[in-house]
Amino acid sequence: MADHEAAGERNSSAQEVGEFLRRRREQIAQRWADETLFRTVFTMSRDEAVEACRAVVEALAAVAVADQVDNLGAAGFIAVRDQLGRMVASRTRTGAGSTQIADEVAALRTPVAELLRSELEGSPSGRTEECSVTLTALMGTLRLVVLETALNAGQELIDRQRLQLLEVATPVIKLWDGVVAVPLIGTLDSARSQVVMESLLDAVVSQQARFAILDITGVPTVDSLVAQHLMKTVAAARLMGAECIVSGIRPAIAQTIVHLGIDLGSVITRASLADALAYALHEQGSVVVDRNRTGTSAR
């Protein structure tokens, strides 16, 4: 109730702080431009830094006037979120950790607090205190907004990299006329195995391949789910008229598969990619001649 009444007051401390920020925007911006956060981001020109500071002050003022001092999602912050994001990214590139960035944002409070104190000199002490508490809360919220922006940027990066990994890790290679291969690397979860299957089947069509080799040298663990994915891929390739060979089965993996009880009897398997290629060439009737050896035997 008390909060509600305070908010209903015509001239609440939040509004007063907001108006103060608007009034002293220029001065605050000039002071902030010399603080570490803005100085290190906008190294090219001070005018740019001042411009950026003005935008942040304006945003804070809007938030305060709207009486949303504690609200991270306040409309006022939306306008500067992009700018804060770029600033955080730029600080991160130069090696600043999130704690350091948070400290730098916290350092912005001091100059504003000083200005506020001098402005409110003479007014009742209770009022001054109320306003400086509000300002502290507002600056705390700004700090959280900056940290949140940094975290979101990190999450975005991770998501983007995960997507990239999905594509990068599954190239289909043409080994010979009619022979394609996919070297599988890393964990073969459902999403990745789906990508593998699709790109392999596409390659079978476009390369008119009769043989497809799945090389699992780079897959550290073959459990029943991975085996199931492999068998499904093999079955799908077979439906398209291509014969599938699983290669790169290491001794440890072979023993594990046997103990697990997975029946790979219906799948052609080879220990190495070279063996698989040799098998495919033999099956399709291609003959590779070693010139040196034939030379010797002819002599």
């Binding site: 964990t187 459990d223 029943s224 789910l225 001794p251 440890a252 594990t256 697990l260 009880g261 997975i262």
Partner: protein
């Protein structure tokens, strides 16, 4: 039971596919540190992968505790997978090869049992399931244990 000692060295959550990868990595590292050979490592990691997936898919998520064990001169690793899911109603059936309730190959539980030295399940309907596996470095688990 064998006289074993050890304290819980790590407790990992299992709530997503990413956690499964983390569990595999952790088990592989711990097993390598304890001196497991490559084949034993692979077997243990595969068993852990199966059981962790069961915890995630059938148990709705849970956690795994890993404990380094010493018994005399042998060293081992104990992994306990716990969930608070619906539990397993017919354990014998769940252990039999080819039985699946989730569209898999039906080899997870039985296969995991064949990959480790000691295996036990404690499951209560509607309360959850705990699967404990132990693997000893050097393979053969205490020869005297079988006489007891």
């Amino acid at each position: 039971m064998t006289e074993t000692s050890g304290s819980v060295t790590a407790c990992l959550p299992i709530h997503s596919d990413m956690d499964l990868a983390w569990v595999r990595q952790h088990v592989r590292q711990t097993a390598a540190q304890l001196g497991f050979g490559l084949v034993e490592q692979t077997k243990l990691v595969t068993a852990a992968s199966e059981l962790a997936r069961n915890t995630l898919v059938h148990g709705g998520g849970g956690q795994v505790e890993s404990t380094a064990l010493t018994s005399g001169i042998s060293r081992g690793l104990r992994l306990t997978f716990r969930d608070e899911g619906p539990g397993i109603t017919d354990i014998q059936r769940a252990l039999s090869d080819g039985y699946t309730s989730g569209g898999g190959l039906g080899l997870g539980l039985g296969g995991a049992r064949r990959l480790v030295h000691e295996f036990s399940i404690d499951s209560r309907p509607d309360e959850g399931t705990a699967v404990t596996v132990i693997c000893w470095v050097g393979g053969a688990p205490h020869p005297r244990q079988e006489g007891r």
